[in-house]
Symmetry: C2
Subunit: 455 residues, 2 copies
């Protein structure tokens, strides 16, 4: 066994040729998506008014363990994948821990995050189906940027509804998307019925992912040859993100390393779901005893304080119902600096796994998270996104625990992206003006009150 290098790259030939479908490995499958009116499981036909046909097929596929990645998508992946898996030697040294720390860095592309993995796939399928325009929402801006890049590459028009709070915090994100030819509308906007209704009720709202989803869905279903693409939460997104974990596994296997702990930040769940996919598959098959930790912001604690219930994916209550850990689609989180984690719900696969004890969760306040972010930036070089820094915080704490116990754990975490568009947040942390926000039980109750009644 040779010494493990700082960066464990794979060659083009070693890159995954199929995604891993984690549902096919689960005994307890996630509950089906249901129609909010009839409460019957949604059919492919129903879903295909909103989503592309291939996305729907993948969304409903619970049986195929592996699904081939078409060459047209692998060609796009070659531009930014395989992404580096890094052994965090410098962080280990700084923490003086016996643990080995690894992170998969998904930020080395202009979208600045892992979102491009699913954007490439979804726009490719849209193009194949003859769709000319796709609509979407974006929070922190990474998903919107990723989709704009994919749209420019495959030649499909992209219309982005961007959460107003993020659009104000990060005007340059809008400029990037426009440079790739997309059109960007701050949400809630007056261009849709649902947007106008939300604005009427809460004229000063800074918006939420839930609102923006509603607007993008409305435009997709009411415009010919247009479909809606979602950047997280759904199972086909999780499927596409499995490329992250598959690359990790191939790289780690070369050095005989099996992670003891896999850690990812969790907003809608796609990054963590992708990172852990092959390792969770091994665990579900009884081949390993790896521990999995979802990390979320204390201001939006879907797992740690949410309910396991059927809920809408959006604030406007336009989507089908998904069984998930949720704070209620009516919950509007405080405008913290991890825009990508401000989502009320959680992917249904992760929710089921959490419910069944395969996955743990913890939450952190943002000042604590930024402390870890700055420490990481200074010793490992890369300035991390606030979202990713939740995973850094948890990985650091795990490594410090090993220092106490003397355990040589192997810790793998997902560094989903860079913080180049989050400098206002870093500035407020550096100046000591950053504050924390934890919702009260009463705040949460308001969200729970918005949950639909399903037997």
């Amino acid at each position: 066994m040779s010494k493990i290098p700082y960066k464990l790259y794979l060659t083009e030939e070693e890159a995954p040729k199929a995604w891993l479908n984690i549902r096919a490995f689960m005994k307890n499958k996630p509950a089906p998506i249901i129609n909010p009116g009839t409460h019957a499981p949604c059919t492919a036909e129903e879903l295909s008014h909103v989503f592309c046909d291939e996305a729907v097929k993948q969304e409903l596929n619970e049986t195929d363990k592996y699904i081939e990645i078409p060459e047209g998508i692998r060609d796009f992946y070659k531009m930014f994948r395989p992404s580096p898996l890094v052994r965090a030697y410098n962080l280990e040294k700084l923490l003086d821990t016996p643990a080995e720390i690894y992170y998969k860095f998904e930020g080395n592309n202009t979208s600045g995050s892992h979102k491009l993995n699913s954007a490439a796939a979804q726009v490719y399928y849209a193009k194949e189906q003859g769709i000319t325009t796709v609509t979407t929402e974006t929070g922190a801006g990474q998903w919107g940027t990723a989709l704009s890049m994919a749209g420019a590459f495959y030649g499909v028009k992209v219309k982005v509804y961007m959460v107003k709070g993020s659009a104000m915090q990060k005007p340059y994100r809008k400029n990037v998307m426009e440079t790739y030819g997309a059109s960007v509308t701050p949400s809630p906007s007056d261009t849709t019925n649902v947007g106008r209704a939300i604005l009427k009720e809460m004229p000063d709202t800074t918006g939420s992912l839930g609102c923006a989803i509603s607007e993008a869905v409305e435009e997709a279903v009411s415009t010919p040859n247009t479909r809606y693409l979602l950047g997280s939460v759904l199972n086909h997104v999780l499927l596409h993100q499995s490329v992250i974990g598959l690359e990790c596994k191939t790289a780690l296997d070369k050095y005989g390393v099996t992670p003891d702990v896999v850690i990812g930040c969790a907003g809608g769940g796609s990054n963590l779901g992708g990172l852990m996919a092959p390792f969770m598959a091994d665990k579900l098959e009884g081949k390993s005893n790896t521990e999995f930790i979802a990390v979320e912001p204390a201001s939006c604690p879907s797992f740690t304080r949410g309910r396991f219930a059927y809920d809408f994916g959006d604030t406007g209550k336009m989507t089908p119902l998904i069984k998930m850990y949720t704070l209620g689609s009516g919950f509007i989180p405080s405008p913290n600096h991890a825009g990508g984690l401000r989502y009320h719900g959680m992917n249904s696969v992760l929710s089921q796994l959490y419910h069944d004890g395969y996955l743990k969760a913890k939450s952190y306040e943002q000042t604590n998270v930024f402390e870890a972010a700055v420490m990481f930036a200074r010793c490992e070089g890369t300035l991390p996104a606030p979202e990713s820094s939740h995973a850094i915080r948890a990985a650091v704490d795990e490594a410090l625990k090993c220092k106490e116990t003397g355990e040589h754990k192997k810790i793998l975490f997902g560094l989903t992206g860079t913080g180049y568009f989050d400098l206002a947040a870093y500035d407020s942390f550096n100046k000591g003006t950053m504050t924390d926000y934890i919702p009260t039980d009463a705040d949460l109750q308001k969200g729970f009150d918005s949950l639909p009644k399903v037997d």
Copy 2:
């Protein structure tokens, strides 16, 4: 010979262990740096008041073809190197050219550019010498960020004078440097004699690299245990940047590819000097016939409209004199969007090679450059820095020429960095409000009038 992959990565083991010193290959050596008072060549002792001892030694070394990279620097390099060499298949397809286009991408690190290569080396040597604080200037911000990162890594304090125009255009750059623990002062400032003098004469100036250098040098020479580090122009910087070209050569050699044309943007010259180093060495030894092109902004045309003369490196006339292509240290370029290229002079090695016909040069206006930048972003994914986009423009034009002539030229260019902090510039291009600026002969004459008299 296997098919050339999209990205030609090297392993850690294949990474260069020595830099290439291009002067050792030149018959006509660059003229020596001279003392502005006596006009005698500067001694190591004189220079060491300003620069670190090892930097001075390297600056004056004209004989060693290779200089070993210390392990402490190679450890830092492992965090972001080897950088990808990319075959621009998508760009080739879009242009429908028979040419092969390769680019070396140096932007995959938080400084966003190649500057980290020399920052790592210089701060390492400062630390070894027991220096506690280093000062520097920064234009576009990449060099300042790189130095801040190296300062955080090695534990050396960093004080950055940032060109005021850039500081206003890019407030977030300041936040990044501060996150890495550096202090940042917009230049000209009232904290130095030279800054106060410049402000008195031109209270509304947006500053220049030349001004900022003067301030940083003044602070270094007047403060104990402090040295000044420069991000370009000097020969030891060029030396450190040779790691770029050496990686390219190792990667291309594997596939039997020798570039016919090597293209780099040129401000102070370090990126181009580093990229072309091993290829120019081959040419100087008669082993190849590669063509080399320096690309500069029409607004700051040191090569294409400058004079080959001894000049100061800074506006405040505090530095030794360097024989170079220059517009005169009194020339203040218009505030265009390629801050890193707004420098009046050019490295002396490149100047000598240009003078001797080994290197060509051309200049472009910025709207033309941004056109190429957007085209590149949309097909190759990465949003390029305005500086790097000068090289893209020239490479595209070269490839289009091949389309006319049917030549299968192999074109290599340097993609020095990303444009994530240049979105205001992209926004003005997207909106059609970007303007061009070409200095008149009278503008240039003002700069030439500032040249010192040297026989």
